[in-house]
């Protein structure tokens, strides 16, 4: 049941971040091996589940997206709020990869406002996440240009160790100092290189999603990723040479 809070004072959740990660998945409708990635990508969907009072399956979420889009197009701002809440965290991450830290939050807000206005032009049936992220990326790039300076990478490694004890099949466990090296090396890359590596491996977007988010052909994603990895390797070599040797790596 979808409730439009138009007759009551609009009350924001005290902590929207606390809602992430507890979505109950219907495993029968979930593609094998995608649960964890799905939950990571769709943190905040349980908020929608709270609003709708239903359990959302992987397939159902896309149906809900379409329904929310249709409602938002007809002027239902609360429905659009649910869409934003669903994708705001990945949007914030995307903006932080591209523009200065001080501008990222504004960039995301402006991007979601622009996306609301552009909803009538959204292609029915298309996934909305990459479409939203493309608007976010464009807004973040505009702000990077306006800043008129090279801002590097505003990301930081958490002071506490990541909670995931078992790495995913595509992950390699690296030591804390290696994380810092990797982040430093990423920060030295050109914007294009950093964006494609960030989208593919830090945001965990597919090639197709990366292409749409960055506004480049899928083939360019492949070639640019390959070149960016080569440049990342060079940057790492330089950093490691300065540090005076390699560090341990555990696969």
């Amino acid at each position: 049941m979808y409730v439009l809070p138009s007759e009551s004072p609009i009350v924001a959740p005290r902590d929207s971040t606390a809602t992430g990660g507890s979505l109950t998945m219907d495993r029968r409708n979930t593609r094998p091996g995608t649960d964890e990635r799905y939950q990571r990508r769709h943190s905040g969907t349980d908020r929608a589940a709270q609003v709708y009072g239903v359990r959302l399956s992987w397939r159902a979420v896309h149906i809900e997206d379409a329904e929310l889009i249709a409602r938002a197009r007809s002027g239902d701002v609360a429905a659009y709020e649910v869409i934003v809440r669903r994708y705001q965290d990945v949007a914030v991450r995307t903006a932080h990869l591209i523009c200065p830290e001080t501008d990222a939050d504004d960039a995301v807000q402006e991007a979601f406002l622009k996306a609301y206005d552009a909803l009538p032009r959204f292609r029915d049936g298309a996934p909305i996440r990459p479409w939203l992220l493309r608007i976010v990326a464009n807004e973040a790039r505009n702000r990077r240009r306006s800043a008129g300076r090279r801002h590097g990478l505003a990301l930081r490694v958490a002071e506490i160790e990541p909670t995931r004890s078992v790495p995913g099949p595509e992950q390699i466990v690296i030591a804390a100092e290696q994380r810092a090296e990797l982040l430093s090396a990423l920060a030295t890359l050109r914007d294009d290189d950093r964006e494609v590596l960030g989208a593919r491996f830090l945001l965990d977007l597919s090639e197709l999603e990366t292409a749409e988010t960055l506004g480049i052909p899928r083939g360019t994603v492949k070639s640019r990723t390959s070149r960016a990895l080569a440049r990342l390797r060079e940057a790492l070599a330089a950093i490691e040479a300065r540090a005076g040797g390699g560090t341990e790596l555990e696969r």
């Binding site: 705001q88 406002l113 622009k114 206005d117 790492l236």
Partner: protein
């Protein structure tokens, strides 16, 4: 255990290392956080919703119009077609000399001339009865709740009336209470010689009282890029002078968290918390004069 530098990894190894790095990054979240790590304001979804609801939109989402079939059509095209059809009908009716339709050219008859002000002077047709006009209710379009009398405020809300004693203001022209928003109070003064008009026609100043407190971190984090924020002092309390192109506002209550008033502001605003409630004055007087008015509240 592999003992080799990251630079020696192949592409697959570097990709794996980057994925691992992602899990270790201290990613920012969509809700502002205080240095303590606590959430310090509404998340982006809430802010976006409020900005849209308050009328601040880049271009404006419009309902999709559909003419024939399912393909959406621009509203302007639909209206243009409708106008052309209407024009064609009129032209056809005139051309056919249909009864009931006559078009004449020349000065309009006096009875059709609109007068900007009602007149009571006698005319050739006799003495018209002046049409009684009700004075506009100051602030009626601001969605401030229910209009009440000044002497009802305390009995309705339990809050004693506290008003500015500044000479530029007399008693408020209208008073509003919104019970659905925790007895939000609004006093509205009409624009006049000493009170320049705000962006709302006829409104010179709006003083509001919210039963909650503001959050400094929220203001610094969530105001739009087109908004200027200055820290000021109001009667010994820290406040904010907020000016620029965009305004929206939240305050915090211990029982429900962040609450927004969902209304587009009519002017630059002074916001402060006096230890018991949050106040906001919207006026076109400028920062210093607005602070003077705020400090005259008794």
């Amino acid at each position: 255990m592999i003992d080799r530098p990251l630079a020696s990894l192949d592409d697959a190894g570097l990709e794996g290392a980057l994925r691992s790095l992602s899990a270790a990054i201290d990613w920012p979240t969509a809700a502002p956080t205080a240095p303590s790590g606590a959430t310090a304001g509404p998340d982006i979804a809430t802010r976006v919703r409020v900005r849209i609801a308050s009328g601040e939109r880049v271009g404006g989402a419009r309902p999709t119009w559909r003419l024939f079939g399912r393909r959406p059509v621009r509203r302007s095209i639909v209206l243009a077609i409708a106008a052309l059809l209407a024009l064609a009908l009129v032209a056809g009716a005139v051309g056919l000399g249909l009864p009931g339709l006559r078009i004449t050219f020349g000065e309009p008859p006096p009875s059709l001339l609109l007068s900007p002000t009602p007149t009571a002077e006698p005319t050739e047709r006799g003495t018209p009865t002046p049409t009684p006009t009700l004075p506009p209710i100051t602030g009626i379009r601001l969605d401030l709740g229910r209009q009440v009398q000044l002497d009802e405020v305390e009995s309705l809300t339990g809050v004693p009336v506290s008003l500015p004693t500044d000479a530029r203001l007399g008693e408020p022209d209208t008073v509003w209470v919104d019970e659905a928003k925790f007895d939000q109070l609004a006093y509205v003064w009409e624009a006049g010689p000493t009170l320049p008009e705000t962006s709302e026609r006829g409104v010179g100043l709006v003083l509001m009282r919210f039963a909650g407190r503001t959050d400094d971190e929220f203001y610094r984090k969530v105001l739009g890029s087109g908004t200027r924020l200055q820290t000021v002092t109001v009667d010994g309390h820290e406040g904010f002078w907020i000016s620029g192109e965009m305004h929206f506002f939240f305050y915090e209550r211990p029982d429900v968290g962040h609450v927004d008033d969902g209304r587009r502001w009519v002017a630059d605003a002074l916001v402060w918390y006096d230890g018991t409630a949050t106040y906001r004055i919207e006026s076109a007087l400028g920062r210093d004069a607005t602070i003077e008015i705020a400090e005259s509240i008794e």
